[in-house]
């Protein structure tokens, strides 16, 4: 079982939005997709996914409606909104700056 990492504060929003960019998903599918995309390194869970989804919806970055999951069960399906796409762009560039800065510090001699 690969080593898993706790998410950094604030990155969850970014990841959820990015995941949804690829298409509407329900909650569990989001966490699964995230795990798959990060090669099982990043694991949401620890009770933070659903509050995050609610918050994102409250900010109108994502939208949800009740529908049927690919497994044939009643599920709440989340979709990214136009506002969410914009926000994703903002957060993405912020993340790039942040990770670049961290890299720079770590590579300092």
């Amino acid at each position: 079982m690969p080593q898993r990492t706790d998410l950094l504060q604030g990155t969850l929003d970014l990841l959820v939005l990015k995941t949804l960019l690829l298409g509407p998903l329900h909650g569990w599918a989001i966490s699964k997709r995230l795990r798959a995309l990060s090669s099982d390194v990043l694991d949401v869970g620890q009770g933070s996914l659903y509050p995050a989804l609610y918050r994102l919806e409250d900010d109108e970055w994502i939208r949800s409606e009740w529908g049927t999951s690919p497994e044939g069960r009643r599920a709440r399906i989340y979709t990214i909104t136009a506002l969410g796409r914009k926000q994703l762009a903002v957060e993405r560039s912020a993340w790039r700056r942040f990770s670049a800065a961290v890299d720079q510090v770590l590579h300092a001699t």
């Binding site: 909650g27 966490s31 694991d43 009770g47 918050r55 009643r74």
Partner: protein, 901 residues
Amino acid sequence: MPKIRTWLRRRLRALLHSGAIDRELDDEIRLHVDLEAAELMEREGLSAAEARRRAMIALGGAARMREEHRDVRGVRWLEHRGQDIRYAVRGLRNRPGFTLAVVLTLALGIGANAAMFSIVDRLLFRAPPLMRDPAMVHRVVLSTSYRGVEGHNTYIPYARFVDVTRNTHSFSRTALFTENELAVGVGTDAREMQVGAVTSGFFGFFNARPILGRYFTAAEDSPPIGAAVVVLSYGFWESQYGARPDVIGRHIQVGATLYTVIGVAPRGFAGVWPETPPVAYIPASARAGEQRYGGKGDPWWTTYHWTWAQSMVERKPGVTIAQANADLSQAYLHSYQAEVAASPGEQPVAIARPHASVASILSDRGPNESSLAKVATWIGGVALIVWLIACANVANLLLARALQRRREIAVRLALGVTRSRLAAQLLTESTILALLGGLSGVLIAQWGGAVLRAEFLSKTSTASVMTDPRTLIYAGAAALVAGLLTGLAPLLQTRRMNLNSDLKAGAREGGYQRSGLRAGLLILQGTLSVVLLVGAGLFVRSLRHVKAVPLGFEPEHVVMVETNMRGVPLDSARSQALVEQLQAAVAAVPGVTNATRQLTMPFWSTWSLGLTVAGIDSVDKLGQFNLDAVSPTYFATMGTRIMQGRGIEARDAAGAPGAMVVSQAMAKKLWPGASPIGQCVRIDSDTLPCTYVVGVAENIKADHLGDDPGLFYYLSAAQFHPNQGGLFVRVQGDPDRMKEPVRKALQRLMPGASYITVTPIGDIIGEQTQPWQLGASMFVIFGALALILAAIGLYGVIAFTVSQRLHELGVRVALGASGRDIVRHVVTGGLRLAVVGVGCGVVLALVLGHWVAPLLFEESARDPAVFGVVAAVLLAVAALASYIPARRAAQVNPIRALRAE
């Protein structure tokens, strides 16, 4: 904005449907766990139970997550408030007596305020409906000095209006306006109604496009006489024409002229008369031209001697009030100089010192405001004081309650409730109480206030508290401020709390403490009550003085009959015949005892002429002598007594030597020490034959209830203007019930469109005494309210103190104090506060008396009798309020008091 709305909607949904959201979340989690478990089983070959366990762990504790989820939902804050409200409601429901007392007290205070506010607001603050820019619109006030006294006039001649409009540059528009009661319609349908006579510029002040047709133009409103066109009000169009669109072009009789309808004003438009909305608007020049101004020389549009309308102006943007005043003053100065040049008899500029200014468009903002408005303002202040007393009372009650709950609060603090949360809870409680009080207060204002509004506002006013947003907002604000203010007192208390000692103490020691705050509040109530009661006393005494004024006639059962000819042309012989027919006809109406002819009505109209008396240089310098021309039945009809000689008799007919009856004051003034009977007076001109004094009548009040000089004389109607005037009719029973029979009997005799009006003269006299009547009744009502509230407050606090001190009092009894000692001890405590309150109140009332003095009638604002009675009443009430709980304290069984914890 939409962002905020969504946010609020979501929060509200989160709060209201918290259960549904939790259920939805559960569904989502169940799906998550199922799918995760299925995957684990498949990938790692775990058993179903184990897979499920691992899936749950991976997700995190469900309960914790739910809490976190809720926190994110942001419902915490709202939930806390909800908890506070539930907590407060529960607490209040547990103590219904306390709750009722507080709510009632506040309801009285807030209700009194809302009712008065709805009146004062209409009189003094509310701009006329639909006015375009009320802040820039003003009435013009012209001021001149006469004999060193400055007088302010808002009624001005047309020529002055033209001068001012032409010679100023600060105003974007000007208009002349007046409201008259004119007969509208013909025959039996004719009724006197308010009609606005305005210049064509008047409508431009308002955002009020005619709903039908148009307003009149400047061309239709110009001297010598304006076009006979009329704009109807929406209400009149609806009630008289059923809102039919084909009303344009119809004719309607207004006053003496037949007008053509050219437009209908929009709903709600009432010109500058929101309390007496006109039914129609006619050109000012049509009204002026119709009246055939009979002044010497100039016609109505150039004379400076006929003041009949007010003017209003709208400042251009950027023009300050000071600039407007300066501009107006120079224009008025020019106009005045032109006037002096034309008629040299006028006072020169240097003495008259003419200057002009702009004033509020609301006439009751002054200058020359009605005394009703002054009284209303005072009563408004009084209502505010009642509100303050109510607040003080409630604060005291809440304080007592907080003290009782001291231990409970200490426990809550010890258990970790933050002080801010505690404060929020206390404030929630007082706010709920205040809002309940406000709600009941609005009901009180609605029902009780109807009486007030009928007294202060015109009868046609449809003012209602419930439907008036401004009054409701005011009541709400009064309630909220009351809630915050009264919540403050217990808050201050919790800040002083010492957890340690409060927790250790029982209810006993924890409860009883001398509180400066409580004493202060009681003293405040006492002080304010004294002020109100002194006001009540002063007004009641004034009213008694007013009522006791001997009028010199008995108005109770007399009605006045006036004829309004509306332009029906009658020569002098036919008009004389008409008046005589009317007098004969009215005498035949059942219930009529007497009828007399008259030319003038005290407090309503006067007539005076120059007099010449042998041996007196200038009679005019002695004062103004007013006259009436009457029938032989006059003195019996009016109840005026003949003191000497005889009254007017049938023999004083046309052609007989002129006869006159003079008042005692007039006799004394003209012939001091000599008998007036047989003296010769030449009336109007010294070349006319003598009129001989045949009798002396008692003095009457004709102009002022106060110091009226009473210089009055009576001529024979057969000898003086026999073709003019109306009647006084003495009736049996209620004059209001006799109005209609009298009018019907006489209307039949009236030719053409002319008609009869009948007015009980008691109504006219009543208007004179109304300010005192109102002042007295209002001050008494509010003063009594204040006294009751203060008494309840004192009683409540003393009773509470006694109950908290039972232990201590028990000790005193055990140590040998008698019941009487205890009573004396407790009552003295209450009285001490009352004495301080009375002292402060007396001082405050003396200071305020300076301003109330002009409203009183022959009454000193420092009347020691009033102050004495008020102080005695207040102390007696305070003694009683303390005695009742004191007696209970005296019956304390020391054993039980000491044993009880």
